[in-house]
Symmetry: C2
Subunit: 140 residues, 2 copies
DNA sequence: CTGTATCCCTGAGGATACTG
DNA sequence: CAGTATCCTCAGGGATACAG
C-alpha cells in the first residue's frame, strides 16, 4: 500500500453491495413516490382522487409512479370492471413499512430544518462558504 | 362538497408545509450526497481521498456536493495553507445525525430489498403488472 | 374515468481542459 | 493538490392530445 491514510476499499461504510440502498434512495428521492405513498397512508384511493389530492402531478407521472410502486410491491392496484371504470390503489404492508421509515426521516427533517435553514442563510449572507482556516496555517 | 369520498386537503399526511422534507429528500436522493456523508462517517478526509474513495465521482460533482453539504452545515471544510494545499472535510454533529437517520433507512432497505426484488421480478415475468381484478367485477 | 402516446424543455451530471 | 470553467448528453418530467 502506498498510501498510509485509511481508504481501504470504495465506500467502506456500506456493507458489500449497496445497490439496493441506491434503489430505495432513488425511489424516495424522486418527485412523487413519497407523496403518493403518504397520500395513500390514510387508506385506499382511486386514480382521480390521487390526482386531486396531489396538486401539480401530471397524469403521465401519476400513472408511471403508480406502476413503479406497484412493481415494487409497495402498493396494490385493483380494477373494478364497471362503467365508468374504477381503479383503487392501496398501500401494502411493505409499502406501509417504507412509509414508516420515511416518516422517521421526516421526523429528523422536522427537528433539524430550522438549523439547516440557519446554516444555509448564514453561509449565503456572510460568504463564509469557502471554509475555515485553521491555526495550523503555515506556508512553505 | 360534491364528492363524499375523503380527500380533504392536498396531501393531508404532511403537517402544514412539507417543503423541508422535500429538501432533505432531494438531498439524500441525489447521486452523491449520501455516499459522501457515509464515506466521511469513518473520520475526516481530504478532497483527493474522497475522490479516491468514491469511484466514479467527477471533480465537478464532488466539489459541488461538498459545497451543498457544507452550506447545510452537514460537513465542515478546513483549508490548511500549505504547499501543496491540503483541505479536509469532516462530518458535523448535524451531519452525523443525518447519517444515522439515513442508516436507519438503509436498514429498512437491507431488510426488504429481497422482497422488493422478488416482487419486481414476479411482476416483470408474469406481466401481472396491470393489477388484480376483484370478485366485485360487474360490467354495466 | 383511467389511462397512453407524443412532443418538448430543463437541469443533473459526465468529460475535459485549465488555474492558483 | 484542490478546485473552476466549459461543453455536451441524456433522462426526468410537464403539456397536450388521444384511446378504451
Amino acid at each position: 500500500m502506498a498510501t498510509p491514510t485509511r481508504i481501504s476499499g470504495p465506500c467502506q461504510t456500506w456493507p458489500e453491495d449497496s445497490a439496493f440502498i441506491r434503489e430505495v434512495l432513488d425511489r424516495i428521492g424522486d418527485k412523487w413516490s413519497v407523496l403518493i405513498i403518504s397520500t395513500l397512508g390514510d387508506g385506499p384511493l382511486r386514480y382521480s382522487e390521487l390526482q386531486a389530492s396531489i396538486p401539480g402531478i401530471s397524469q403521465r407521472m401519476l400513472t408511471q409512479t403508480l406502476k413503479n410502486l406497484e412493481g415494487d410491491g409497495l402498493i396494490t392496484r385493483t380494477a373494478y370492471a364497471e362503467i365508468p371504470p374504477r381503479v383503487e390503489y392501496e398501500l401494502t404492508d411493505l409499502g406501509r413499512s417504507l412509509m414508516d421509515a420515511v416518516m422517521a426521516l421526516a421526523g429528523w427533517a422536522a427537528t433539524h430544518h430550522s438549523e439547516i435553514a440557519g446554516n444555509r442563510a448564514a453561509t449565503e449572507l456572510t460568504g463564509v462558504g469557502r471554509g475555515k482556516v485553521p491555526v495550523t496555517a503555515s506556508a512553505g
